[in-house]
């Protein structure tokens, strides 16, 4: 219905209404009834022409207001038990609220199921919703006995605008109207519902179409291969991605059995189809598919049933994804991760090891273990710079194929991981007896050779020898001893210096060594090198520490370390011996208690001074408590922050030296006196000599008185010379003083003096002394004579033997007049060397003063020696052979022997 038609209907209704109101007062009941029917017809016609449900309801409200001359109407429909306003006319908004059954006028009508009249003037209670209403009438809308709503009219007006109550006629008309309206409303509601259903169906259909397009697009543009088949695996759809992934075109695939399933998987595929038929969905199948080129690719497939609208399974969808790349990356990632964690573990374990052999074993085990780097055999060779060689240090690996299999199968059965094995190496006993280890330790390659091993060292480069037959620089020693066919060598570089090489091969598995292997090994060798270097440094430090400790302990001076608080922290053996207590009784005690026997620090103590000044102190201290004179040095010890932590003391007992010094000083004084005496002698004796000498001459030539006078001069000079001699002999020690000396003591003295010099030339000094021999000698002079002889022997000999022998033998004097020989004893001192000997022509001249065969010799030694021996009434003989050594024999008469 258009707008114009609506207006026409409206006008017609108004005319009918005006006519009806006249009829109420002036026409007969029949006419009234007829008019009512006409009106009803008009209304019904007009409302039936309306298709829109809400417009219909509005129309009912509007038309009835006009017809009944009311001020307003309200149409409520029952929805979920409540009366909800669906349409109204002429009423203000506040009465449009929803009402419950029994509430207000409408509620009452709905509750009672009959028409209700309302007049405010006759009611005590006024419902808030009906406050503005004077009078009203409300009737329920029913279809049969079913309540569908209510319809009310309010405030009937006269033509003059006066409100009048609704009458019985109004009730009959309204009820009639309501029964028609109810039917119309119901029909209209059904129609509305049908219309809505149709609209929904259309919209649903459109949505399905859109979804289908969308899905189609999705399928076509999906990067995943989407394939559908029937229940026999015959392809029904094949998207672009499938074409791309498998190489088969859509035409080649549709209508045929899945062309991308490899022959060996067809049975599996059929079993999958059976599962799908049972309604299962298969997710994330990791399998393979074949391409048109015949390549096998890794795929991940999801399979699901396709059902028709009745839920029957009519096909299968497959969504496949090429996971070759992902798989590769996954594998790579996994391997890298494993390798990294292994390397990390190995290197951290290695760094915790403090023995080189264990470290090397760990490294090699890590390199050969399946769980490690997995090489068959490996060796470590270390550079020996001193000998300019590279030498095998340790090898790990099976001796032959049988052993290899035996080890591999045992390891896989024991299922030990690298962690356990490393721990076993670190803590368990270390055996070094495998064949490869023995072979390895025999390898000794000169660095001047040009081979793969030496190049790895010299060029600091790894080498991968893939076939020893084609590599001219292959190491013959490795091929011969280890039977290697292909191997890799990697330098171990620490601080830019090659300290050794790592060697690996796969003799038993014949697995080629790949670039990847080389890269892993390279990362590993850096770790090994620095671990070995660290260990070596550690060993050096330990050794140095040990040496220091040994020096500290064995030094004969007293050495001790004091803390700031005068407590003794460390002492050497000499201190313990000097104090006469064990180190436990000394350490932690106060130094002034132990060393000086005092209760508080000693003022003169060098430690005290060093603590006070932070400066080193050196001084000679007379310590009455220790009973001697000590040369003490006290040096401050600082921590790394420069704080003084204590002092280190070195104390030398110089009591003996002091005595010697005093002796020397006295000798020097004597020497000075002697020198003065010599001067005096010269200055006085010479003039005395002239005076006396010439007086003697005069005495001889003169007579009587003059002769007497000359004699007086001679006598007086003699007296003066006598005084002079006596005076001089007082300052001079007697040169001829002799005493008895045990030959053994003399030779001991000499050995002590000369042993270092003798040893310097690689000679050995041997002594065979008869302890019963006692010599009567001027000790110092005689010692000089023997020193000369032993010194000469040492000069003539290198890396040889010098023997001093002392013994006694019987001698017989020349026969006397009666032919008797007196028996006596002689001491023989024999000095024998294994040196170059004396030439025969020189033998006679050796005793001459200034004769020498040595460029720096004075030539006086043997002359002086001979003179000393003669002074002691002895004799000396020599026996020598060029190249055969020399013997000097000194013969000295013993007491009771011939003089």
């Amino acid at each position: 219905m258009n707008e114009q038609e609506q207006r026409h209907d409206h006008d017609a209704a108004l005319k009918a209404g005006a006519y009806a109101s006249d009829a109420v007062s002036h026409r007969s009941t029949d006419a009234e009834q007829l008019r009512r029917l006409k009106v009803l017809h008009t209304i019904t016609t007009s409302i039936l022409s309306i298709t829109d449900f809400h417009e219909l309801l509005n129309n009912i409200s509007m038309e009835s207001v006009k017809f009944f001359n009311a001020s307003g109407s309200i149409l409520r429909l029952l929805e979920e038990g409540n009366l909800k306003v669906e349409a109204c006319w002429g009423l203000c908004d506040d009465i449009k609220a929803e009402l419950q059954i029994g509430e207000g006028i409408c509620g009452q009508a709905a509750l009672e199921g009959k028409t209700i009249f309302y007049n405010r003037s006759e009611t005590d209670y006024v419902h808030p919703a009906t406050e503005s209403i004077e009078v009203g009438i409300c009737t329920p809308l029913k279809i049969g006995d079913t309540l569908i709503g209510t319809f009310g009219l309010y405030d009937k007006m006269t033509v003059e605008g006066k409100t009048i109550p609704f009458g019985e006629e109004d009730r009959i008309t309204l009820e009639g109207f309501a029964s028609v309206a109810a039917i119309v409303i119901e029909k209209s509601m059904l129609y509305e519902k049908a219309l809505r259903q149709e609209r929904e169906a259309v919209s649903a259909k459109r949505q399905v179409e859109e979804l289908k397009d969308y899905l189609q697009g999705l399928i076509e543009n999906s990067p995943d291969a989407i394939v559908t088949t029937d229940l026999d695996g015959i392809v029904t759809s094949w998207n672009d991605a499938s074409e791309k992934m498998f190489g088969f075109s859509r035409n080649e695939s549709i209508g045929k059995f899945l062309p991308n399933v490899p022959h060996f998987l067809i049975d599996t595929e059929k079993s999958y189809i059976e599962q799908i038929k049972r309604g299962e969905t298969l997710k994330d199948l990791e399998t393979v598919r074949k391409t048109k080129d015949g390549n096998i690719i890794d795929v991940n497939i999801n399979m699901a049933p396709i059902k028709n609208s009745s839920g029957k399974i009519i096909g299968i969808s497959r969504i496949g994804r090429d996971v070759t790349e992902r798989k590769r990356i996954e594998k790579d990632l996994l391997r890298k991760n494993n390798e990294l964690s292994r390397l990390l573990f190995i290197s951290s374990t290695m760094r915790g090891t403090l023995e080189l052999d264990r470290l090397l074993r760990m490294v090699l085990t890590a390199v050969t273990m399946g769980d490690g780097l997995g090489f068959n055999r490996s060796m470590l060779l270390l550079v020996d710079e001193g000998r300019n060689v590279i030498r095998g240090a340790m090898g790990v690996g099976p001796a032959n194929h049988d052993e290899a299999w035996e080890i591999w199968s045992r390891l896989s059965m024991e299922n030990k991981d690298i962690n356990t094995i490393m721990q076993e190496i670190e803590l368990g006993p270390l055996s070094k007896d495998s064949l490869i280890d023995r072979l390895c330790c025999g390898i000794d390659v000169n660095l001047d050779d040009d081979t793969v091993l030496t190049r790895a060292v010299k060029e600091k480069k790894p080498f991968n020898v893939t076939d020893v037959r084609t590599e001219p620089l292959s190491d013959p020693v490795l091929i011969q001893q280890l039977g290697t066919m292909a191997y890799a060598v990697l330098p171990l570089i620490s601080r830019n210096k090659v300290i050794g090489v790592l060697w690996v091969d796969n003799l038993y598995s014949r697995k080629p060594i790949t670039d990847h292997d080389m890269n892993i090994l390279k990362g590993f060798t850096d770790q090994i090198a620095s671990a070995i270097e660290n260990l070596r440094l550690f060993e050096h430090v330990t050794q140095a520490e040990q040496e220091l400790e040994n020096i500290f302990e064995s030094i004969s001076d007293l050495m001790y370390i004091n803390g700031r608080d005068y407590s003794i922290k460390k002492i050497n053996r000499a201190v313990a011996e000097k104090i006469g207590k064990s180190p436990d009784e000394i350490i932690r005690r106060k130094c002034y208690e132990i060393f000086h026997g005092m209760d508080s620090p000693w003022e003169l103590c060098p430690h005290h001074k060093t603590i006070a000044t932070n400066q080193p102190f050196v001084g000679e201290v007379d310590d009455p408590n220790l009973g001697g004179t000590f040369l003490i040095s006290s040096s401050p010890l600082f921590d790394k922050n420069g704080e003084l932590t204590g002092t280190v003391h070195i104390a030398r007992d110089v009591s003996e030296i002091k005595k010697l010094k005093e002796k020397v000083a006295s000798v020097e004084r004597m020497a000075a006196l002697g020198e003065m005496a010599a001067k005096v002698a010269h200055e006085i004796r010479n003039p005395l000599l002239s005076i006396g000498g010439f007086a003697r001459r005069l005495e001889k030539r003169l007579d009587s008185d003059l002769r007497e006078h000359a004699k007086i001069i001679v006598d007086e000079v003699r007296r003066l010379e006598g005084i002079l001699n006596n005076t001089l002999s007082f300052v001079k020690s007697s040169v001829t003083e002799r005493r008895e000396v045990a030959a053994a003591d003399l030779i001991n003295d000499i050995s002590t003096l000369l042993e270092p010099t003798v040893n310097d030339r690689g000679n050995v000094l041997s002594r065979e002394v008869d302890h019963s021999v006692t010599l009567l000698i001027n000790y110092d002079r005689f010692k000089e004579a023997i020193l000369n002889l032993v010194g000469n022997a040492n000069h003539a000999t290198e890396n040889g033997l010098i023997t001093i022998q002392v013994y006694s033998e019987s001698v017989f004097s020349e026969p006397d007049l009666l032919g008797h020989r007196a028996e006596g004893k002689e001491a023989v001192i024999e000095i024998k060397d294994t040196g170059h000997g004396i030439r025969e022509e020189d033998l006679n001249r050796i005793w001459d003063p200034f004769f020498t065969t040595r460029p720096t010799g004075t030539g006086l030694g043997l002359s002086i020696t001979k003179r000393i021996i003669e002074e002691h009434a002895g004799r000396i003989e020599v026996e020598s052979k060029v190249g055969g050594g020399t013997v000097f024999r000194i013969y000295l008469p013993l007491k009771g022997g011939p003089a």
């Binding site: 010269h682 000599l689 002239s690 001459r697 010379e721 000089e784 006086l860 002359s863 000393i868």
Partner: protein, 116 residues
């Protein structure tokens, strides 16, 4: 028999020369260490008596030089002081302390010449 007497004191040289000539020796003298070596080379004496304390070259050095040039030459050290603790003089053939009584010296010379 020629004897070279070396001493830095002229009076002493004069005394020795007179005394030894009286004994029948041919006596040449030198007044210093340096002169001693010159005279020794020029005169080729049979015996030398040598003072030790001399200003230019001392008697020990002269002794060393003489023995190097002619190892067999007998040298008698004739000094005012007893130097016998000094090993260097030990290589001389005899040692006589100066005394106005020349008996010891004359006896020593006689002994040495006889030994020769």
């Amino acid at each position: 028999m020629k004897i070279l007497v070396v001493d830095d004191e002229k009076n002493i040289l004069k005394l020795y020369k007179a005394e030894l000539e009286d004994e029948g020796y041919n006596v040449v003298t030198a007044n210093s260490g340096k002169e001693a070596l010159e005279v020794f080379r020029a005169e080729e004496p049979d015996v030398v008596t040598l003072d030790i304390m001399m200003p230019d070259i001392d008697g020990i050095q002269v002794l060393r030089q003489l023995k190097q040039e002619k190892p067999q030459i007998p040298v008698i050290m004739l000094t005012a002081y007893d130097y016998r603790d000094d090993f260097s003089v030990w290589v001389s053939d005899a040692y006589v302390v100066k005394s106005s009584d020349l008996v010891t010296l004359k006896a020593t010379i006689k002994q040495i010449i006889e030994k020769k």
